[in-house]
Symmetry: C2
Subunit: 259 residues, 2 copies
Amino acid sequence: MMLVKLGGSVITDKTQYRTFREDVLSRLVGEIVSAGKEVVLIHGAGSFGHVLASEHHIQNGYTDESQIPAAAKVMEDVRDLNLRVMRVLNDGGLPSASLPPSAVATLRSGELDELNVDLFRRYLEVGICPVTFGDVALDSERRFGICSGDHLMERLARELRPERVIFVSDIDGVFTADPSSDPDAMLIEVVDRTILDSLPRTQRCADVTGSIFGKIEKMLRIASWGGDAIVLNGNVPGRLGAALRGEAVRGSRVRGDAI
Amino acid sequence: MMLVKLGGSVITDKTQYRTFREDVLSRLVGEIVSAGKEVVLIHGAGSFGHVLASEHHIQNGYTDESQIPAAAKVMEDVRDLNLRVMRVLNDGGLPSASLPPSAVATLRSGELDELNVDLFRRYLEVGICPVTFGDVALDSERRFGICSGDHLMERLARELRPERVIFVSDIDGVFTADPSSDPDAMLIEVVDRTILDSLPRTQRCADVTGSIFGKIEKMLRIASWGGDAIVLNGNVPGRLGAALRGEAVRGSRVRGDAI
């Protein structure tokens, strides 16, 4: 089984509230179906979640009553994105079931607490691809919070032990500097913990799920669960398909900590 | 707490695939918000679920491979309806969270097996209205099946013990005959088990969740869990609001079996 995270920056335009990139997703689904592998999918919330969640500090948990309708609205917005994703998956020949964190997960102080992983296994057994995504979820200490795609990746990697973990991003992988502004930025082909400290301290977009550093921290932990992990560019046709088939592909391989 | 079922025939046009009656729902949400009661909502799948589910016999469980994409498509379609419902609820001033049966429930031989009722309680505590609906769900014996709104009503009534259970229908209540074709049809003001046998054996629409008899059977069981239960016409403005406030309203009161 392959665990694939479709980044919010690939399937949405992260700078504009609720902009879905259907053409990109449709091509990626084609690559998944052609590769013929069993997959579990996670997608980011992108501009359907982060803008409003950030504005109302949903990631920090309850502080005042005005957050209640905002939290409900964020759930609605990410379900809107998820429904569009499900439509492309089903129409593209990958029968899929959506398992929203607000219904299958709970948090404790901002960290993922319970996740009904058994349900993911059962959908796979039936021949239906389980799909989850960045969402609002209940928090036993803070009432609610954000359950990010990376939280989900980590838990699912640990519990399901996928053959390979693939992070589908909008850039080629992890770079020595921001490739959009620095022409000397170089792709780091193998990412491990020693690399983390040498990375530039920049952050491209507001994101309630944390900066690239938090993401790399999570990737390192995810890669520790045995599976081969890779970050690749989903905007370049063919790379996801190649990675699913186990072929060499441009990207950053993540070498996890020894556990 | 009030347990309210918005029938699929009220919020959709049951005879036409995927026709949402947004104006009716919007008014009903206004009545709920004005009444100021804590509610748990269940809505039927109406024409978003029954047409395709019936065509592929999803209610009988797995028989062949062609049902897999169909089951996934039904889930997608009912989420489409649910998203429209959530939008009307949130925009109407009732912050709500959607808990789809395909993510929070499982079946066993067509009957509801597990339902994460605790999650419903936790959303209520946070001040968010939990909403669920008729959906496809996994079945431990038959791979998958239909988790109907009435299945959910029964379990939630038993576990949450609501003050009142309200079935919002497209007719005034339970009649002695089909009121759309028989001018002598009379409203039965109090429905109990002795009434069931005297009812006419007609069925107005194909419905994968069973005929009106099955529904009345379930209503009787639901009413047995202590709460006052009523069937009323949601197409008539004011009736749902009046019932929520505990006022007398035209409809059929359901008297449950003694347990």
